[in-house]
Amino acid sequence: MEFALNEEQQVFQRSTQQFLKSKGDLEIPREYSEGKEEVLDDLWIGLAELGYMGITVSESYGGLGMGPLTLVPILEEMGRAVIPGPYIETVAFAAPLIEKYGSAEQKEKYLEQLASGNRKFTVALLEGNGELSPTNINVLATQKDNEYVLDGEKILVSHADFADTLIVPVRTGNNEQDISLLIVDCDSSTLQMEKQISMDESRKMIKVSFNEVAVPKLQLLGDENTGWEILQDGIQGLNTAWCSNMVGGLDRIVEIATEYANTREQFGQPIGRFQAVKHKIVEMKMNLETARSLAYYAAWALENNTEDVVEAIAMARSLITESFIQSASDNIQVHGGMGFTWEFDCHLFLKRAKSLENYLGSPEDYREQVVSELVGNKESLILER
């Protein structure tokens, strides 16, 4: 029984923090959203140098061969600084899926490059109204000789402009779940990209249009028409990663609010002396620690592929998303008028939080999933052995 980061993970935490501080900390998302997109390149090079791009890539391809738990401290730190870029999509989605479902050729082609920072992935998942469901995947992949020809449009593809490779669920049949995953190299294709303006400018959202885009059949990830199932696997990774990222945001919010409450004076007192402010920050702290526990557990469950992994991730996701929004809002309140300024950092967290609210499903959806899992499988894994 040991429920905490181990020493190695603590080292990752410290070195990520140092690295991000050296790169500007919260200035990174600010500069990025003001148009200095080169900060992303710079960041990526640094992450690769630290070996962080290869954490989930097996050692034979130059990675560290680690799992979701190792990502936890790194992602928390990234969340603390509202870092832009498709790190999660690359290391917590693309890498594990290619490791697990990729062909030998695909592994050869992508994993080493990914680990060295020379392949940046993102996932082109959503369409239409942004709902995540098999019927909402309608980018059509028509077979033609040894190729699929893609037609259609994906939305909210984060950092598609920065990534060079997309993982794209496409429709390959008429049955609801006739969906396949394709790995699409941006450089070898003619994709149309259009920015979608989002409140959270640290996650650049792109609409990607496929207009008769030919993709070799070799680029199929897993078997044809099994894409939806594989996707579920990938979504577990994405959600777990985002949970830790949000925990980082929560952590930073509590830190910022506490600091402000200790220094800002009104009525001759630091405002943190007033219980209305003091206890509000305590609520934020309570939510933070519960969020962190659930995020740790989700990562542990995913790494160990426990029986309750789906429930563990759904619990974490539903609670953390809501806590993040709530605390980000409360943080603005603690800061008073200054919290409402663009100049202060408070809004970065609120916008990030709100933009993740329904990403891959709403808190309601995930609570529903918790109960579905629960009613089927009521064994408590951790209370008793």
């Binding site: 303006i197 409140m199 004076e265 009104q266 603005i332 008028g337």
Partner: protein, 397 residues
């Protein structure tokens, strides 16, 4: 107990409603509500609207007729706010002048001040802002440090104001400054009418989290005011500031009426947007949330009417306004936040990429200020506790 209006009140409403139909920019009522984004265009747009209101007799309706108002009753003012909310009329750029500075000058200004300022307030020729908050005096307003020192016939003003709405478009400022340090912070404050177009006044925009510019910092660097610019007595400015605030009779009313409209739009949106092929409004969980918000919105509105009834009966508004303010600001946040929740994963796309209309995103962000501006929720709770419930005051530290 009734919710009916008298025939005269109905006539008043009809007249205003017709005037709005005739005078709002074309397409406005139908929803084509575009306001220029650049400073100059915006300034012109708002000034034009202010002028139209004036020409139509719809600016400062509670002012006495001799000064260009209608001597409107409180109920008429409420009807005015209802109708303005109904068509989502553009804001009055000179609201501070019309709703507060003008009435204050009429009440306690000098004859010269009335002559010099009042008419130009009403017709929008001179736009006013209000210089109260400072970087170190937000909730603790009376802790203000901007100083005014007498030098000959001039008062030399130094210091900084913040959160000054519309300062970048304003011609004059109703400004509080410290003219004496007695050690008691409510004493030694004086109210000045300050020219914004002088060298010693510099205005810097505050960009707010909704990417808008409404608020400003105002730097006073040897700015000058004259004896004639003092409202009330020297060192008695705190009382003047309270007089000014007391003229804010229906401030929260429009917000409450608007919220009830926004609620209707929320229902409309929930009836249109779909999830799993079904309109959201058919989802039992959504229905619970909508039902909850409905009861709260209606409760807020009814509370307002109840407090209004009391104000009319007593002849003056009570501290219950703090309850209206607290309720409206928190409910507003809740409604806008939920509106975004309903929009699914595209909920933070905004500006030209907004999923429904960008108003939802703008106002979601804007709503974060509701519980801060005009007295934070924490301050409102203290007022309610102390002035309505009679609970002990926070210790004066």
């Amino acid at each position: 107990m009734d919710f009916y209006y008298t025939t005269e009140e109905e006539k008043f409403r009809d007249e205003l409603r017709q005037w709005l139909v005739d005078n709002l920019p074309e397409g406005w009522i139908e929803g084509k509500r575009e306001i220029p984004q650049d400073n100059e265009g915006q300034s012109k747009f708002f000034r034009d609207w202010q002028r139209k209101l004036f020409d139509g007799g719809w600016s400062g309706i509670s002012w006495p007729e001799e000064y260009g108002g209608r001597g409107a009753t409180l109920i008429e003012e409420v009807i005015y706010e209802q109708e303005m909310a109904r068509v989502q009329a553009p804001p009055q750029i000179n609201v501070i002048g019309v709703a507060m500075v003008g009435p204050t000058l009429l009440q306690i200004g000098t004859e010269e001040q009335r002559e010099r300022y009042v008419n130009k307030i009403l017709n929008g020729e001179e736009i006013w802002c209000q210089g109260y908050s400072e970087p170190n005096s937000g909730s603790d307003l009376a802790a203000l440090q901007t100083s005014a020192v007498k030098k000959g016939d001039k008062w030399i003003i130094n210091g900084q104001k913040i959160w000054t709405s519309m300062a970048h478009l304003a011609d004059r400022c109703f400004l509080l400054a410290r003219t004496e340090n007695t050690g008691k912070k409510h004493e030694g404050i004086t109210a000045f009418l300050v020219d914004m177009h002088q060298e010693g006044v510099e205005t810097r925009p505050i960009r707010s989290i909704d990417d808008q510019h409404i608020f400003n910092e105002v730097f006073l660097n040897d700015a000058v005011a004259y004896e004639a610019d003092i409202v009330g007595e020297v060192n008695k400015g705190w009382k003047v500031s309270l007089t000014l605030l007391s003229h804010e009779r229906t401030g929260v009313a429009r917000q409450i009426f608007q919220l009830n409209q926004v609620f209707d739009e929320l229902v409309e949106m929930a009836s249109t947007l779909k999830k799993n092929g079904r309109p959201l409004i058919e989802d039992p969980i959504v229905r619970q949330n909508i039902g909850r918000l409905r009861a709260k919105s209606k409760g807020l509105l009814l509370n307002y009417y109840r407090n209004l009834t009391n104000s009319i009966r007593n002849g003056y508004p009570g501290p219950e306004g703090s309850m209206d303010k607290l309720g409206a600001s928190e409910l507003g946040q809740e409604i806008y936040s939920y509106a975004l929740s309903l929009q699914g994963s595209v909920n933070t796309l905004w500006k030209e990429n907004a999923a429904v209309t960008a108003e939802w995103q703008y106002e979601y962000l804007r709503s974060r200020a509701y519980t801060i501006e005009g007295g934070t929720s924490e301050i409102q709770r203290n007022i309610i506790a102390e002035r309505i419930l009679g609970l002990p005051k926070d210790i004066k530290y």
